[in-house]
Amino acid sequence: MEIFITLFITGFGLGALYFLVASGLSLIYGLMGVLNFAHGAFLTAGAYATWYFTTSIRADGSLSSYAMSLLIAGLVGALFAVATEQILIKYLYDRHIDQALVTVGLGLVATSAYLGWFGTDPLIVLPPTQLYNTVQIGEAFVGVDRFLYIGVAVLVLLANFLMMRYTRIGLIIRAGVENRAMVTALGIDVRKAFTFVFFIGGFAAGLGGALATTYASGVGPTLGDAFLIYAFITVVIGGMGSVPGTAIAAVIVGTTQVLVNYYVQGLGDFVVVMLLALVLLVRPQGLLGKVAH
């Protein structure tokens, strides 16, 4: 039982990281119909920013430096995302396949640039020692870092909810996901919302990257690509365009993966894909998706 608790919370933490990547993907897809293959590159950029900040600028290993590195990683991811939208995506509106292709190219370029700059081997990022502590739950011991991932993801989910519910831009995004043509017809410039969605999506991915360096004990050029595939799966299971759906799916994917992987090595990744197939067979629109895609 204690092993189950440890694994479950670890899986929950992994799911939180998936959520950080997938929420941005889901929003971007829901609003703009862009499948962003470069989203993993945003995450990796955030991870490298964390590495640089915690080893070269403030290498004191304190919690406050770590917190600052999270913020900086988020901003780096956001800037990268906004630049992508402004330089590449903007000129290809309503050419959905081309948009996806351009992000594929960008992902490739970014990964090979990281490879050229930082080398193949993962760079080690040491989080503050406090994160190595464990918390006792019943009989089980669980790493503190797991709760950090979950906490950050919950904050992002909450912020997302409040923004969607109570701000004007959130209203525009919600309306845009439902019916973009109508929003445009009402004279609202949806393009600003596009840029904004890329900003928050990139920010969440950058944050995820910073936390992923703790989860994976470092950062390599393909860190983001590894997360991206499971983030895609999460988005499809949750229903595209639905952030709460993404959150539920992220928890399911993360816990299933970690639990099954513990009992049969490697099978967890496989089971997650089968889960995706199952969801598609029973409910093609995903858990909380409104329309079949």
Binding site: G33, L92, G105, L106, W117
Partner: protein, 338 residues
């Protein structure tokens, strides 16, 4: 879409005859070069099967590498573990790949467009994971599943026989080219292209889009598996990279660079991609980048960086790739001459 005017129709045939004859002349006599071209032919063939999906049916799959790997592993496994000869092993591999393509295709085709892309990606990733982790002892993991030399005829073995491998790869490319040409010209091919252009219209005519798309998906998968079987003979192993998303993405690059839905565009894209990746790697070792500062020289030494940049530029500024660019040139100057 026929971008090639009829008087140039014989050009692809001429090019293939040239490559066949060249292997016996000093132009392409060196085993290293022959091996490079053999791999390039196989990737060109693979790109063609991908174009059948992307260009002619309008299906953006991110999991095409799965069927290539299934063919390669199916054949390599039957040869290595059961001591089968290459022919029965190859046939087994094709059936194996067909079964996988049927199941994954039927599931993935329940969704459309971008979601379809994601689902195919996920299936391919599952296959890739099985190969990397050597699950159930199937794949030998990163050690690669070696070709059983007892299972193939002697004239495909050893450096001295590289030319035979080269010819085998060339014949594979020609076979796939003819098969894709025949398929796309057939009445089914016309339905596929109609599906790509307007699916609703096809279903109003009483045809079931799902069935046709599934047939195209499975056929493209089986052809990719066939290329995979040949790849085991040419490269002497089946390895996890074959089934990686990276492989599918390079196929996508080849088709887009060469020109979508033109057949010969995919071939040119495939050849160019393989040769360029090999040549660009030597850019760095030859010191061509030594004058550049590290922040730009580092990425430039990665072929994927340059190819990725070219790819982005082609998607943004030259839809239709090389084939499209040639077509526009002809429209501009060809009519002026007449």
């Amino acid at each position: 879409m026929n971008l090639l005017p009829s008087k140039y129709r014989y050009l692809p045939i001429l090019a293939m005859v040239f490559f066949g004859v060249a292997a016996f002349t000093p132009i392409l006599n060196e085993p290293g070069l022959q091996q490079t071209f053999a791999v390039a032919f196989l990737f060109a063939a693979l790109a063609l099967t991908y174009d059948l999906l992307l260009g002619f049916t309008g299906l953006l799959s991110f999991g095409h590498a799965l069927y290539y790997a299934a063919g390669a592993y199916g054949a390599a496994y039957a040869m290595a573990r059961w001591d089968w000869g290459i022919i029965p092993a190859g046939i087994f591999a094709l059936f194996f790949a067909t079964a996988i393509a049927l199941f994954t295709g039927a599931t993935a085709l329940r969704v459309k467009g971008i979601a379809f892309a994601m689902v195919t990606l996920a299936f391919a990733e599952a296959g890739h994971v099985i190969a990397v982790l050597n699950m159930w002892g199937l794949s030998n993991g990163d050690q690669t599943l070696q070709l059983n030399f007892e299972s193939v005829p002697d004239f495909f073995l050893g450096v001295n026989n590289t030319r035979n491998l080269y010819l085998l790869a060339l014949i594979t490319l020609i076979l796939i080219y003819v098969a894709v040409w025949w398929l796309t010209q057939s009445s089914m091919g016309r339905v596929l292209q109609a599906l790509r252009d307007n699916e609703e219209r096809v279903s109003v005519l009483g045809l079931k889009p799902f069935n046709f798309k599934l047939i195209a998906f499975v056929l493209a998968g089986v052809m990719a598996a066939f290329v995979g079987v040949v790849a085991v003979i040419v490269t002497n192993n089946a390895n996890p990279v074959m089934g990686s998303t990276q492989t599918t993405i390079s196929l996508l690059l080849m088709v887009i660079l060469g020109g979508i839905a033109t057949r010969w565009g995919a071939v040119i894209g495939g050849l160019l991609y393989v040769v360029l990746s090999q040549r660009l790697t030597t850019l760095d070792t030859q010191g061509a980048l030594s004058g550049l500062p590290d922040w730009i020289g580092g990425p430039m030494s990665e072929p994927a960086f340059i190819l990725g940049v070219i790819f982005i530029l082609v998607v943004m500024f030259s839809p239709g790739g090389i084939a499209g660019a040639l077509y526009r040139l002809r429209m501009k100057f060809g009519s002026a001459v007449k």
